[in-house]
């Protein structure tokens, strides 16, 4: 072979016009979609900052002429739900009281289930797992009436333990699936080594498996926080009058039909209610995508 004369390459990849227009098209489409999804948020935000007089002008896209935070204060502390005029504040703390034990318990139990299913050769593990999965795909509504009857029997209907238990039960299939999939990727030799070291069921779970579960636990927390915070139906049915979550109170505020509709207060209340999941999404987008990728997200 002779050494061929090499042609010097261009300094950078040549840009063809076809390529260029393709790019422009993609950006135009993405921009339009972003606008489409952001518009409602924009309208809510500006409306919540307007006075009722300004809202009555009917220009929903206009920026507020005079910014007022009055609707936000009202929504938080003095908006009326029926006869009770204490705002969303109560609902917020109710939701927190429901959220914290529900998230902690459902994740702990899910991790324990996943651990038992993937490491200990439980007799009939596959059948158990199939049953759990079936539970994940059943519509909630099917369970409501039997659960109401059952809770009434054991005396926890319409109480904080009742709603927490409900969230734990309904979170179980997805949490188990999530943790089982994560644990089945861990080498089984790790588990064998621990058994030879003399560790039993709980020692292995607490000393070895749980410390390794940090990434998947973050995913689980994100999923459970958003799911439980956004829940309306279960809270309405099981929480009881004293513990109604924020979503239910929001509904009550927005749907109060007496007198003038305070659109600015409604908007402020809605944004307040969605702040928690919104913050979780924004703070943990990367982890959330990972959760979806691990194949365990239900609509």
């Amino acid at each position: 072979m002779t050494t061929a004369e090499l042609i010097a390459p261009a300094a950078r990849r040549p840009v063809t016009s076809q390529h260029l227009w393709g790019r422009v098209g993609i950006y135009a489409f993405l921009f339009a979609m972003a606008l489409f999804f952001l518009l409602p948020l924009y309208v809510m935000l500006v409306t919540s900052l307007k006075t009722m007089d300004e809202i009555r002008l009917g220009q929903i896209f206009a920026l507020p002429a005079q910014i007022t935070f009055e609707p936000w204060v009202t929504a938080w502390s003095s908006a009326c739900t029926g006869l009770d005029c204490t705002g969303l504040r109560v609902g917020f703390w109710n939701s927190v009281e429901i959220l914290v034990p529900s998230v902690v318990l459902s994740i702990l139990l899910g991790a324990l289930n996943g651990y038992a299913l993937s490491f200990w050769k439980v007799r009939g593990a596959n059948v158990l797992f199939a049953c759990l999965l079936l539970g994940a795909f059943m519509p909630y509504q099917v369970f409501i009436y039997p659960l109401v009857r059952f809770y009434a029997q054991i005396g926890i209907y319409g109480s904080l333990p009742g709603i927490v238990l409900t969230h734990v039960i309904f979170g179980m299939p997805v949490m188990t699936l999530l943790f089982r999939n994560y644990y089945s990727a861990l080498p089984s030799e790790l588990f064998k080594a621990a058994r030879i070291d003399g560790a039993g069921f709980w020692a292995i779970f607490i000393s070895i498996v749980l410390p390794m579960s940090v990434p998947i636990t973050i995913v689980a927390v994100i999923m459970q926080v958003t799911a439980i915070w956004n829940d309306f139906l279960l809270g309405l049915v099981f929480a009881g009058r004293e513990n109604l979550p924020m979503t239910v109170q929001l509904n009550n505020i927005v749907n109060t039909t007496t007198g003038e509709r305070a659109y600015n207060v409604n908007m402020a209340a809605t944004i307040l209610t969605s702040l928690v999941p919104l913050a979780v999404y924004l703070a943990s987008g990367r982890w959330f995508v990972r959760g979806i990728a691990s194949g365990a997200v239900k609509g």
């Binding site: 080498p187 030799e189 790790l190 064998k192 080594a193 621990a194 058994r195 030879i196 070291d197 390794m212």
Partner: protein, 359 residues
């Protein structure tokens, strides 16, 4: 130090029989290697000894004590795995002491044992690191240390060097051998690597299909394979195999392959063979050498040369039969050369064609 006796061990997964009526005796302080291709049941046998797989039948005894149904932790074993199986969230020190902490041993004793094991394995400087910050060789040392700390009577090694590169493998192999000499515990070692088996073992159990094919010293397993499988499995470059039959010519017994006839009067037969009997000759490349005068020789045509560093391997054609053989380092060869070779029939093996057993 502990001896192991396995009696009629049977392991089944549902209908699938992995092991049937296996018997094995391992002496006190012995280094026994279980060698075989993947799926031969060697790891299953080790897991059964360790108590990680339940026996479906038969029994396992340590020093005469029945441990068939004992928990892994009550057997006095330490196990080292191919994937190291270190606890990723614990430091090396905590990895090594985990078993003792579970057992509730007091702190001073734990510190003393960890320091002792770390000294033997030369990992003192790594004690406060996490496994992720260690190289493969260091991780495997830690895994061995974890078994050491537990004062195990029996060490089980499940392909411990298979994840390491060739140089490290040789290094750690040597260290395992030294460790065995130093502490004298009974060691059982599973591998598919014949070099590891030959270098480490007091005795090798060659396995296939859940059955021990041969249990003997490395030299005997290599030089006097009990059957055709063992002969073919051990040795790299592999043993040559040629089919043929025995005949009596001029009063002496020869093995006729069709291409050449081998005088087998010097071969130490285990069984009587008769004229007309079919057999397979197994002869290792190092027992076929360029002839130097006196002995009987066979002429072949060189078709391929494989230099292997310490040796030069040649492939020659003997009237349609291709055999690999050793070439002398001093002489120069070219493909196409014809030259005589001698075959050392005393070091060859003959196998029965029907059973595959050594004749």
């Amino acid at each position: 130090m502990t001896s192991v006796s396995i009696r009629n061990l049977e392991i089944r997964y549902g209908q699938h029989v992995v092991m049937d009526k296996l018997n094995l005796d391992i002496r006190d302080g012995e280094f026994l290697v279980l060698l075989g291709p993947s799926g031969c049941g060697k790891s299953t046998l080790m897991n059964a000894i360790g108590g990680l797989t339940d026996a479906s039948g038969g029994s396992i005894h340590f020093d005469g004590r029945d441990v068939t149904w004992a928990d892994p932790k009550d057997r006095g074993i330490g196990m080292v795995f191919q994937s190291y199986a270190l606890y990723p969230t614990m430091s090396v020190r905590r990895n090594m002491s985990f078993g003792l902490r579970i057992a509730g041993v007091d702190r001073a004793e734990i510190d003393r044992k960890v320091a002792w094991a770390a000294d033997i394995l030369q990992i003192e400087h790594l004690l406060d690191r996490k496994p992720a910050a260690l190289s493969g060789g260091q991780r495997q040392r830690v895994a061995i240390g974890r078994a050491l700390v537990r004062d195990a009577d029996i060490f089980l090694f499940d392909e411990p060097l298979s994840n390491l590169d060739a140089k490290l493998r040789a290094e750690l192999r040597l260290e395992i051998k030294k460790l065995h000499n130093a502490i004298g515990s009974t060691m059982i070692y599973v591998t598919h690597d014949q070099i590891e088996a030959l270098t480490l073992a007091d005795r090798i159990a060659v396995m296939k299909g859940g059955v021990i094919q041969q249990l003997d010293t490395p030299l005997n397993v290599y030089n006097k394979p009990a059957n055709e499988f063992v002969g073919g499995f051990l040795g790299s470059p592999a043993m040559n195999k040629v089919d043929g039959g025995f005949e009596t010519r001029d009063g002496s017994l020869v093995f006729d392959t069709g291409a050449f006839a081998l005088d087998v009067d010097d071969y130490p037969f285990d069984q009587r063979v008769e004229s007309g009997q079919k057999a397979t000759l197994g002869i290792r490349p190092e027992h076929i050498n360029p002839a130097n005068g006196s002995s009987k020789h066979y002429s072949g045509k060189l078709s391929l040369i494989e230099p292997m560093g310490s040796d030069i391997l040649g492939w020659s054609d003997f009237d349609g039969i291709s055999l690999s053989h050793r070439l002398s380092q001093e002489d120069h060869y070219t493909v196409g050369d014809s030259f005589p070779v001698s075959m050392d029939v005393r070091k060859a093996s003959f196998f029965d064609q029907a059973t595959g057993n050594r004749l």
